[in-house]
Symmetry: D2
Subunit: 320 residues, 4 copies
């Protein structure tokens, strides 16, 4: 019988619980036992865990957040912390560790992999969708829909008051969330960290929209694009439009996962447990071209996922 550890780390994402449940039940079907480490990497360092069984993960499929808790763990960025974690993996006889999280978590996992014989498999779960090696991460679809639902509401006010709204969505460094949300709410303008924007162009677009009878508008901006308060004020001053700012905030990270986030969680978990059972190298599972696949953990950590600029071009045409 094999022993598998599971841990959620970094920012929480809807569907993490679905992934935990799937890891446990699939492992159980392969006669493996699962330990859940608490509070992210912290639990590996402090050796805090709880045995997980098919029954103990009942009723969590549809819950946001993570029953294993999560944290950002500074100790884990130090050699000492990582060594302690490696010791605990050995002490508990863990054959494979399934790490559910985002970029930061996988960098940690990569460091840990250098100090341990335990096989490590990553499952990408973050609303940012910024992980190389997968077209989509667990939680992304949920966050997109949460933002879209909110912006559909904001548009009611935009239209009624004939105002322009800048809506800031999450994404400090990357614009995956902003670009998908922007296209699917029909945003007039989408601003992402990857593409430099010209304020003059924004003013021009706004004036043209106004001229062609678009009396209200939505600008979707990733938080990483700079000062949106200032931008709102400047658009107002330069175009005469009434402009308001709404920052969607942490609700984007929570809530019941959508069907798609639950499905991805189940498929990724299935692949991860399979990889652990087959004693592959350290890997990250993912969705690539519609198939569940995997790549080297290291490659994922060291490569930047490109943003699909065609989506932004299409959004631009659709906002005509």
């Amino acid at each position: 019988m094999r022993k598998i550890g599971v841990v959620t780390s970094g920012g929480d994402a809807p569907g993490m619980n679905a992934a935990i449940r799937a890891v446990v039940r699939i492992a159980y079907s392969k006669k493996s036992q699962v330990l859940g480490f608490m509070k992210g990497w912290e639990g590996l360092i402090t050796n805090t865990f709880t045995p997980l069984t098919p029954r103990s993960v009942g009723g969590i499929l549809q819950l946001g957040g993570t029953i294993l808790r999560t944290s950002r763990c500074p100790e884990f960025r130090k050699k000492e912390g990582i060594k302690k974690a490696a010791e605990n993996l050995a002490a508990n006889d863990i054959d494979g560790l399934v790490a559910i999280g985002g970029n930061g978590s996988f960098n940690g996992a990569l460091e840990l992999s250098k100090e341990t014989d335990t096989l490590i498999v990553g499952i990408p779960a973050t609303i940012d969708n910024d992980i190389f090696g997968t077209d989509e991460t667990i939680g992304f679809d949920t966050a997109v829909n949460t933002a879209v639902t909110e912006i559909d509401k904001i548009r009611d006010t935009a239209i009624s008051h004939e105002r322009v709204f800048i809506v800031e969505v999450m994404g400090r460094k990357r614009g995956f969330l902003a670009s998908t949300v922007g296209l699917t709410v029909g945003a007039e303008i989408i601003l992402v960290p990857e593409v430099k924007y010209s304020k003059a162009n924004i003013f021009k677009t706004q004036r043209e929209n106004s001229a062609k009878g678009k009396k209200s508008g939505i600008i979707v901006a990733a938080e990483g694009i700079g000062d949106t308060h200032k931008l709102a004020r400047e658009i107002e001053e330069n175009t005469g439009a009434e402009v308001r700012l709404s920052i969607l905030g942490y609700a984007q990270r929570g809530g019941n996962p959508t069907a798609r986030s639950r499905l991805l969680a189940s498929l990724f978990a299935n692949k991860a447990v399979e990889l652990v059972s087959e004693k592959h190298e350290n890997k990250l599972v993912g969705l690539q071209k519609g198939e569940i696949t995997s790549i080297e953990l290291e490659k994922s950590c060291k490569t930047e996922k490109p943003l699909d600029l065609n989506l932004l071009k299409l959004a631009n045409i659709l906002a005509t």
Copy 2:
């Protein structure tokens, strides 16, 4: 045949369209005709209106915002603007004007009533629920549920990360929204403009909660209570808790109205058209002690609605 005008003014609220629809169809059943003035009081000054029929208000019952548009209208705060509006009411032979909006709108309506023979009836519609003469306004229930749904999501992250969240809801001057939302999400602390709060007490409560095993928490704050960014930082510094701020923003003002907001809209419109038909004085319709009633428009404008402090006390006990 009577001629009724209808106008939506001030901030939009979910259920305004339901009220417009009901005014038109009830008026029609009483053989009255309805004109919809556009963009709030501005439409009365510029004499911009559209005839509304039972068919033309089809399909709007469930839509947020207002098909008549709305605005804040500075011209209407001047004698000249009000005179112009009064002239247009006379020129169009309007027997009664139904004004759907909030406090500012009714102050305008009251001024207008002094310059016109047209009967004016107000229908309270604002997510702030701050209008004297009614226990509940159109849109309040929707905004409460929108905020509650968002905060339920934020709690997922609060629990997963063992963090405290300050969630800022709308309410520059009044805490009706914050107190109902706070109680119904099970907030650990509720802050409203009407009640001075002691930072020392907040720190103490947070420390006690932490001591009794509440590792996460929600503080619901009305926007009018002061600088929530600063408050978040100070709680963090004084209690050791990780604190985050989320400002719910404009989504609270939009979205499909809840059943209750639609019901209130229908009942208020029914009463308003009845008052217009019966040539009462200028009134505001409302819900009082479970009944649809009305009070003098002037009385509503000149009286401050008290906040139910018992709700805050109960919320405090429930947050044990």
Copy 3:
């Protein structure tokens, strides 16, 4: 220190958990202890209970269903079962029993009250809203909104296909749910068990609607009005309209409670614990004319709550 029992019985309703939580925390603030009996009256007969503490009811406020489980309990309709329950109340030193449920539950509670000295207080929780002594029950607002949300979706198809839909909502004997839902979705026709309907009139209305350009329509029917499959077929045959039937089903009974259902649950629980503490007679708490009140349990059981027919008349006008 007093000892309070709490039990949920009959059909589940969203907000029951909010009521359990509130009973426990309010009791705790009055230095009382709470035992939760499991699976409705069955738990009183089998003496199956669990101690409830402020911490053990954490995180349940927003959950549908009931953590205490519920059941329909045939043994409790027999003298023997009731005697056993009374003995267990005595054996556990229960000063007051808070029964959360609907009509059937309160009839049981009334019988039990004749065999025990334990004070019994009922909290009305049922999506049917059919309990005398309260204008609204816990769960009603949630069920109304669930149905309204579903019917808003069905209307998309109705309009796109130019069809008439009969939508059957819950309500075997009473039409509270159907009438509120019908009015708030803008149903063309509302059918409730309390009002005999003429098929000829339905055909006539449908033909008139069609003639005035209403190409689609919604008929909201309580399940107790008879065979809706047959009705659909007959409307089709007699009017030429394409008619479809949709039965909303059990989803109406579940889901996260709305803010209003949570608020009522908290207010009712507060009153119930107060009544238990003050050693009143057996009572049912309720909302009457906007105030939290109580009436004799027996009176509630023996009186039929009237349906507000004015709501149906208004709905009829609004469907113009």
Copy 4:
């Protein structure tokens, strides 16, 4: 300047409006003009259409149903009807016709293509997801999420009453919806038309679940699997479990499209207009292995899309 026709046909699906909007705006960006034919193929036969412009399709992106209406059109199954449609395409100088719909619609389109020189491009939009040549259809993701949301609610009652629920989802012939919904709600059993099921096995699974402490359960069944009323009764009789049936019905076909349904609609429309501009043969656009592609319309019509049985196997393991 080219002239493009657009038509929605067959059952409506959420995202059809998003597709119409995208066709119009993308065509416009390529200097093409768009005519919208009304009520499915009927509008081609009766030559009923409306010119569509970037402005006239504003505000429809998020609406369920189809502004062009739809119908099942028996005349179009006859030679005569198809000839009439072909004549009208010629009379209106339509270069390309974009047909948005499902299987039946594309069979019609294929017949029409034999009688006309107008290029025909199909966009797959149906909640059934049963079209060969695309991994996913517009509306499927929305219907899945609608069903999942409903079943999450039903589970509250299932758990509270310790009952088994059979939930019937749409799918007369195919089980795509049932299998994805079943996996993502964590159904204990999934029944699809493609896989023969043994009642004895269902009884056995139910008894085993009960023995291992699963006191409630969800069985997701496609409508095409046979008499679910009877099945419910038989499970009850053979296992002792309390069993209820809930038929989700037409709400699965309506509602605001999810982000994913909107995104697919936009991407498919983009491809369709491109194909029309480039004078390809008659094609169906689709999503294959994560890429937007196209196949011959005829091939799609004449090939049955296989159901992924691995999904059912995985669901089975996850229901452990």
